[in-house]
């Protein structure tokens, strides 16, 4: 009897180990598969951007490797011979403004909707989220009329005006969830300690909800950095263009594709979001999940 009892945990431990090993093998298999699948395009971009135009155009060479030596010619052409730097500057200006506007508006909106109970606050909160569900491909036609009416057509400032229609609802929604997860007693303690609503927001809510705020910031950054529909509809001239549309329109002339520069441009354009994600990824995940589960 004792022998059976002594043996049993050992056997179950072994089978537990075996099942864990299989789970790990399966996980690794699919994770590697996905990694290959998603890293193939960037790899192709890097390889192509480091080739000369002659090698890209030469049909007999293998597109996956660099046969004739690495060259940074495509990057030099991109920065010196094209309007890429103008697009980059425009995008940075637009994105910084959009992120700033979005965060100010959505943090204030979320604070008032989640904490300052007033008539209709519940309906308003739902309404804000519903506006996020309308896709930008439907919104750009009425927005075109508005932007033209304001005289902002073909000005990148129009982007500063229209991107928040995408970013503010979602960020407000994330922040409402985050603020609601902060215990009510915390504002009551602050109230008794002598804080007004603004001090409560600045000294208690924003520091406590920092992961949520960072998540919302990343979202706003990504949306305004990568938006395509609005700039292609509202911006025409090169000096007003942003990265996403500018790179494509200036480097594809009719049926002439400047593949090397296109790939170099796409890589440089993708770098800032990559850097932002790499540094703030943990906050982003923490922020999204906290808002989702507690909100």
């Amino acid at each position: 009897m004792t022998a059976v009892v002594a043996e049993y945990p050992g056997r179950s431990g072994a089978s537990l180990k075996r099942s864990r090993r299989w789970a790990l093998i399966t996980s690794y298999f699919f994770l590697i598969l996905f990694a290959i699948f998603f890293l193939t395009p960037p790899y192709y971009m890097i390889v192509t951007s480091l080739k000369s135009d002659a090698e890209v155009a030469h049909l007999a060479t293998n597109p996956w490797i660099i046969a004739n030596g690495i060259t940074f010619e495509q990057y030099r052409l991109l920065f010196q011979e094209s309007d890429f730097l103008i697009y980059f500057k425009n995008t940075v200006v637009v994105t910084l403004c959009v992120v700033a506007i979005t965060m100010v508006v959505s943090v204030l909106a979320a604070f008032s909707l989640s904490r300052m109970r007033f008539w209709g606050s519940g309906i308003l909160a739902t309404g804000i989220f519903l506006t996020y569900l309308i896709p930008d491909t439907l919104l750009f036609i009425p927005l075109f009329q508005i932007v033209r009416g304001l005289g902002l057509l073909n000005s990148y400032w129009s982007m500063v005006l229209v991107y928040p229609t995408l970013t503010v609802p979602f960020c407000t929604w994330i922040m409402i969830g985050y603020f609601q997860s902060i215990p009510k007693e915390l504002d009551e303690a602050a109230l008794i300690d002598g804080a007004g609503h603004m001090q409560m927001l600045l000294k208690i809510f924003i520091p406590v909800a920092l992961p949520g705020i960072i998540a919302a910031t990343i979202f706003a950054f990504t949306v305004s950095w990568a938006a395509f529909v609005y700039p292609i509809a509202f911006l025409f001239s090169a000096d007003q263009q942003v990265l996403t549309v500018g790179t494509v329109t200036s480097l594809i002339k009719a049926d002439v594709y400047k593949w090397g520069m296109l790939m170099a441009g796409a890589l440089v354009a993708a770098a800032p979001p990559l850097v932002v994600y790499a540094f703030l990824m943990d906050y982003y995940i923490a922020g999204l999940t906290a808002g989702a589960t507690k909100g």
Binding site: E185, L186, A189, I192, G194
Partner: protein
């Protein structure tokens, strides 16, 4: 330092009356405990005094001034919450000094006051830590420290010990009493735990259904409850309530609990209950007043034998349970005197401590 007064205060949430017309005066430096079951309105009352809830009707006075329209920060009160409500991103020092900073107190003064409060609470070593690095008891101390540094007119405690384990709760209870003895300030303390109420309070306010049932010193509530609710709520284990008929018996009175069980009412009580003779009443008798036969000069007719159902040894005493006419009764006996479950035991009811309750009004006669 200030007295606090409530005058005919009412609080209505939509169509629920949380607090129904209560009046209460708390003199300077007194430690008052509001106690009652959940939903009795005690926390709402405290929150109205704090200014976190608006009174629907009536006046709230602090230091003789009506504060109904004064925001919480200008009422000069400090509050300790059940879940501590410490600011998670601030150190203990920052938590304690936050209120002073907002009031633009000089830096040196802030440091001095925080250090003094930390000394009183024995948390000087923790000043650099953040709340998540503290244990429950330490967090509670910090929450109290945050209140003390403000040097407010009134301390408000909202069930501050409910989140602590039993042992720590007893420790912190003593701590709170010690702090109040050092920092004499009017204190209003809310709890649902009658032991906390009895041990801490100068005066206890028992609340039920949004009304005040009784206000009194702990001993008064224990010995002279005014209603069945107070009699049952104060004291642990709770008072036994037994349906009984009060009968005339020559010059005296007899309390019949069952056809075969009747006790003579002590002569000292006869005059008080004479007018109720012939009525069906409820006898209230605490477990500590039903014991094994002990003591000098006891009434031999109050001794009786019962078959025990359950026995709960507590160490220094033993609780025995038996049934009288379908009602379970608890008695508190010497451990050596307790017999076994299913066995008869000789018991004695000390009716000198009896209460008679009118079942119609639920008031003690």
């Amino acid at each position: 330092m200030a007295d606090v007064a409530l005058r005919n205060v009412v609080k209505r949430f939509d169509d629920v009356d949380a607090v129904r017309n209560i009046s209460l005066t708390i003199p300077d430096n007194e430690f008052v405990v509001l106690v009652g079951p959940s939903g009795c309105g005690k926390s709402t009352t405290l929150r109205m005094i704090a200014g976190l809830e608006e009174a629907t009707a009536g006046d709230i006075l602090i230091g003789g001034e009506v504060v109904n329209d004064v925001p919480p920060k200008d009422r000069d009160i400090a509050m300790v919450f059940q879940n501590y409500a410490l600011y998670p991103h601030m150190t203990v020092f920052e938590n304690m000094s936050f209120g002073l900073k907002l009031r633009r107190v000089a830096k040196a003064e802030i440091r001095a006051r925080v250090e003094q409060a930390a000394k009183i609470l024995d948390i000087t070593d923790l000043l650099g830590r953040r709340p998540r690095q503290l244990s429950g008891g330490q967090r509670q101390r910090v929450a109290m420290g945050r209140a003390i540094v403000r040097n407010p007119k009134v301390f408000l405690f909202d069930e501050p010990l409910s989140n602590l384990d039993a042992k720590l709760r007893v420790q912190m209870r003593t701590e709170i009493k010690r702090v109040h003895q050092k920092v004499k300030t009017t204190t209003i303390y809310v709890t649902h735990d009658q032991v906390e109420a009895m041990t801490l309070a100068d005066r206890v306010v028992v609340m039920n259904g949004g009304r005040i049932e009784q206000i009194g010193r702990p001993q008064d509530l224990y010995h002279r409850p005014k209603s069945r609710f107070v009699a049952g709520f104060i004291g642990s284990p709770a008072m036994n309530f037994l349906p009984a008929r009060l009968q005339s018996n020559g010059d005296g009175l007899l309390l019949r609990l069952a056809p075969e069980l009747a006790f003579p009412v002590p002569p000292t009580h006869t005059a008080r209950y004479q007018s109720s003779a012939g009525k069906d009443l409820i006898l209230g008798l605490r477990p500590e007043h039903i014991t094994e036969p002990r003591g000098e000069g006891r009434e031999p007719r109050c001794e009786f034998a019962m078959t025990l159902d359950v026995i709960e040894p507590m160490g220094m005493e033993t609780m025995v349970f038996f049934t009288v006419n379908g009602t379970e009764v608890c008695a508190r006996v010497e451990p050596s005197a307790a017999s076994a479950p299913g066995q008869p035991m000789r018991l004695y009811a000390n009716l000198n401590h009896m209460h008679l309750i009118d079942p119609a009004t639920e008031l003690v006669l």
